[in-house]
Symmetry: D4
Subunit: 249 residues, 8 copies
């Protein structure tokens, strides 16, 4: 019941003041609920929902998928899903499973749209699992993705060979472990927003990704922001948001 409706029913005597009070008492947060749903409605129209698979049993995930399907969801992305869990879920649903990225898709990728292409670049080959999580997330949410893997700054020519893709991108996701310099170099080359993802690739003083994280936070290039270590999903999700920016009011 909307507030006006409640008031009208009070006026008409259709409901008691007590009932109206009870109804209104829970409204503040219901109001926010509606706001939330509004926000998410656009994404949901024919689109995808995400399940964070880590720490959930196959059965729990199956139950969540069931509920989503009942609510009209058609396409679902599951991240951080182990191969074993994926196998078990496949007994119940048809999943496309991407082993490198530990990502599974139920249903379809959204049709690519948005302002332009998203480039996902990595410093080395060991960063690819994180990159694939980012790329698949962005593709699932409806973006064209260009993968530039193993273009780390120790061999600058490998990166510069792709300067056209980089300068044409609407968003660049720069993924690197070790010293994480890739984000700064790309940040200096492109106009697009750069989302930097430090990875836990490395050893010794890489401190499980903290070295790359600090490096990226201190990037001398403007236009670079950072997400958590190994957070490919977060980068892909944010890149999609930016690539689908549209005029507001």
């Amino acid at each position: 019941m909307e507030e006006r409706e409640i008031l009208e029913k009070v006026k008409s005597g259709d409901i008691s003041i007590e009932s109206a009070l009870r109804e209104l008492k829970t409204k503040p947060f219901k109001d926010i609920d509606f706001a939330k749903i509004d926000l998410q409605r656009k994404l949901r129209t024919g689109a995808g929902e995400v399940i964070y698979g880590s720490g959930k049993t196959p059965n729990q995930i199956i139950k969540i998928i069931d509920t989503m399907l009942e609510n009209g969801q058609k396409n679902i992305l599951i991240t951080r899903l182990s191969k074993e869990s994926a196998e078990k879920i496949k007994d119940s649903f048809e999943l496309k499973y991407f082993e490198d990225a530990k990502v599974a898709i139920f249903g379809e990728f959204m049709k690519a749209s948005g302002l332009g292409k998203i480039v996902v670049a990595t410093g080395g080959t060991s960063d690819i699992p994180v990159a694939e999580e980012a790329a698949l997330t962005a593709e699932f949410l409806g973006n064209e993705v260009i993968r530039l893997y193993d273009v780390g700054v120790a061999g600058l020519h490998r990166l510069l060979a792709h300067i056209d893709e980089l300068t044409d991108a609407s968003v660049v996701i720069a993924i690197a472990g070790m010293e994480g310099a890739l984000a700064s170099v790309i940040g200096g080359l492109v106009e697009a927003p750069v989302i930097a993802v430090p990875t836990s690739v490395g050893y010794g003083a890489s401190l499980n990704g903290v070295a790359a994280l600090l490096s990226m936070l201190n990037s001398c290039a403007s236009g670079v922001s950072v997400v958590n270590i190994d957070n490919g999903f977060g980068a892909g999700f944010l890149a999609n948001r930016i690539n689908h920016m549209e005029e507001k009011k």
Copy 2:
């Protein structure tokens, strides 16, 4: 000389092969220069350039401004400029100085444009200097900015009272010290990209902003990315980029 021009002159015999070689020898990096300049040309059309004032003497800054003016620059933003330096530079140029933000403007703010409004929100009043650096940067680069200061999560109603401005924003900059929870709460409320800025506000276990930084990097809300501690300029600059996203090719 463009490459085609060089080639044509070689063909026509206007220049020797030696001259052409010398010309081309320096091109690889000039090419990138041109790319860079291309990228920046748009920003420059009637627009602004930025000087990072920290660690520069007033005289150095005066010289840089002079050079910029000679190159046709009309509007200049100077960040991290102490009041004393600003006073000295005012002897040479007409500056608007914003003491809180330690920011100075030569010339004019760009006319506000972009996809929508940028909200700059802070957890407390002590975060305002960082927020003003962000807000003034965004305004200088041509964005409408809404300031929501002192809306920290300890008094959630203060934040929720502004839910309309938040959900209407095209980009939100969430600035907070201490526990930095503001970024997560806003990240859960809005659809827009959220740029989180940890500040060094706090004491003891805030570790000069590291607590807020870690908190923001671990945000349980998607769509949040982080810049360096106290980096208001970086957030404002990136927000401008995102707010001016446009179709690519």
Copy 3:
């Protein structure tokens, strides 16, 4: 023998000064023992004792339980007890084992008493094992517990939907990993003391719970205090103490 008794026997000549001296020589620390036992007597009346199971073999635990039973203990709580150990102990005693919380109960939960209800809230589902350790500890010690799980700040409406339970609580235990913002948000909403428990849930820059810990220590809300990472027992134990506060002299 109490001191008075010793003195009276000395006076009456029932014991020699030498015997009295020997008796008294060991008193300083027995006195403190008595003090301790005094303190704990109230808890023990029909109530429970706790065994910290981690690093103890099943046999050691069985021996401790035996001793407790001999001393009239009827109800025993065992924390951090692996499933394997629990199985082995079950051969000797009838235990209720709670797998999620790794908690076992011998005997009965105390009848719920105290000033009010204890709310145990978590940011996510992965925090539930820590939350159950807290909740079961509080219940074992005689408190009514309300569980509010997965009410993290990224979806504020989930939390606000329970504002009545929160504001009615006598103590709130706020449990969260990642950015740990839950403690601050709850701290700003309720009048009751808030015990914050950071968890090791998260990855990368969560640094195994250090990010949440720092966040909670820096909470901008007053009335919040913090226990060790994943220390559900400590929170439940302290909550019980606070919920059973009574007038002192």
Copy 4:
């Protein structure tokens, strides 16, 4: 207007549905405000409000005091107030200033009430400023406070000499720098909740209070929780809450 009042006026036709809607539209957050205000009403009855002085100019503080006085506030606590600021504010208001604690009181301390006495204990004399912030906060909010200063564990007899005050306390605030062992020792001696406050007293490997903080978080005694380094106010505020616990519903 309370909601019931609005509804009754709607029913009686005293206000239009439009007016009622406008009135209710601003309610969600007022509701929370009201909740907050409800919670705080008890404290305010003849009681005190707190201003965090750090980072505020004398003028800002004077303005805040003015506003509070206009709203009927009679007693105000100001923490982290420098001597210089206090001097300037004294030109406008009559303040009691406590230099050690950097705390000022406008008006009166609340009459001591609560379940019992609050003991504020410190390891050394250098911890006294933090202790006084805690003690004065608790006294201002209406608690009887017993100060046990310089009772650090290196001279255990100093602490044990006060075992009666400790075991009689309703809440103990244990304040220590360096190795912070005081909290554990007291935690093992008393039944009351112990609020541990690490201080930045020490040098070298004390890491500005981090050593004491970690020590207190790892306390082997149950019933101990921790606040931020040097956060005397937080401890005093929480101790007051616990000392004024009363039955709920």
Copy 5:
């Protein structure tokens, strides 16, 4: 009154049981007091007491000295005393002030005794203030001290030139900043216990002495133990204890 005395007076009726009880009630901790005083009596016989000067005003120190004198103390060591404070105290007492070490002596150094000589060695000249604090403490407490300054491992010959003094020492205090290697090298050369003191000398990755501290804790030489960064007093105090070891029982 000793316990036996109390008992005898009870037996003889000289005191009531009530008085005896009151007397005994405070004994547990008084007993420990007596123990403490026993322990310290030996040191005090014609010997010295120590005041930690840091964070104490000249007036406070003067008052402490007064009390000590009244209690028959003749020789007093004051550590971490600024030159300014020393000057003010000199108006009241005759002090010997050692500026480098920030140490003052009232009265006399104890006559050197003990099992042998204490060597105080430093890596560089910048470590001398810490070394002097150690050396003067040991001398004050009655030890012969040999100073070997600036014998850091980068010039091994400087250290080896003193191998006789080192191997003859009963205790060696090894003081070094930067990489702190001195402790390991000396630990491998001598049979005596080595007390390692990391100093805050250095810059950058010395992290204010943490590098030297970690280095010393990981010493590959046996027989090395470590005190806090810059804690010359602690090393001198402990060296005195070891140099005065004697048969027990």
Copy 6:
């Protein structure tokens, strides 16, 4: 085609300006490629290439070796190769596998050349795997290597017994875990550049090699530089570069 060739063909009309432009368009980065290849040509003449084996499957490595062989590579070094992977690769190629160092060689070690000998010294026997990675890398790249293992500073005589080898070396690689003092001591004894390699050998406060790393960075000896923890390959590679220094222009 070299640039001159393109220009000459343009002049002679052998290629169109369009073709020349296309050719030149990709030159900027090819130029750098050529530069790189130039640099590496010397190494490659009859010499070796390196594969970083960690995180690569046997199949991937086999494919890389195949490609290298096709490109005329004759000798290949593979680092961080597990025994299992080595076994599998041996089915396809003849490898010499060094289990301690986890290094494999395809083909031959280069003939030893360079300015002098490279000494690889370790503090203990547990550092040998890292040392062997360094030594084999240097040998593979054509250097004479002298191994001085287990010459840690706790037994200085073990190190000094080899002073001749040390002072005669052209480069010294100093490898140590725990307190890492070896680098400083050697740095003080020799004139040659010293490359320090901290290892993760140790426990507790060695923090997985961070203690040794900090120690080495703070070396009081000049002429010492540091590589990442356990980075034997990096040290061997750099030592080879230095040992093969020759006059430039």
Copy 7:
């Protein structure tokens, strides 16, 4: 040949100057060896040598024991020896293996001597393995050891009940994880040198023993020094040295 002998033979013409030179050429480090051997001779008289077992294969250890036996060693201590390794070595030698401590003894413990008894105290039962390593090391080297286990400060009476053993000890080894307060409390109670051993016992903010380490380094009690986390051997070794102090020259 001793130097004097060489010189006399040169003088008498029994050896040529060339032979003497060759003999002397190797002396510098033999001299140091002799010094070392001198130092260790006392220990060796019917006494023990130590093998650090961690990272050594059973075969390597067997070879070392063989060599020691050939050199007349009769009693050998092996630390950090896994049960599996011990089993294998038992095929070759008769070992006493102490599983808790991971320590093995070949031959006999030395007859207890020294100035007094060494007390080994632990905070909890989980610290016992480290304590046993310390105790067995001290016993092996010829000391009487008193074990006081599980006397942590959370139950102060447990510690105070043993005040006689503590004050009678010639050296106290205080072993504790978690908050490590035991070292400070004991340091305040006894006159003997206290060797503090932090352990990795604990979880969360114990940071694998770093919390206890920092706590112990900051001990407010004088006379306390610290060894590496879990370094029971180091503490036992140093305690033996101190307990066997004797007059020097």
Copy 8:
């Protein structure tokens, strides 16, 4: 006296066996002294000595210079010398003072020699003081230095424009704060050894140079080694050593 000389004098009876013994007793370390002096003789021939000025008073430095002059030293480099100290020393000696670098030269720079040129490159202008310390050190020791300042990776074209100087260098010193990516990028471009110097330039998460330090240690480019934060002198000193490598034996 050389050993042979001693032996001959013993044989001839020119010295007693006692004198010879005394002479030989101190030889082990004198031998090393000689070695040291040998090593340094080459540098000293007409060359320079270095004084580390930090923490030394002007008077101390004057005295050291005096001693050096007496020993025939003609050219002296003083690092980390404040302007004030330099002014005072100028009263006694003629100094060239370089304010930026805080470096002073007495006498002359050595004539440039070595294998090639040393390039000193910085990421930004704020790194110049560290760079000048490196450059002046290298120049003083006799090297030609090329300065490439402000060529940070955020503007890659600035760096690439100098690719010729970089590839021609015999040693490159890469100096950068913030994210320190310069070292990796240069390391990937050049064949020469790269000495990386992290600087404390930056703010927030740069952690006073630790971010740059970690970044450089994790460089994905081979041939890079690292010195302490801000250690320009160390880099210049090592670069000189490498640039003066010559054949050994």
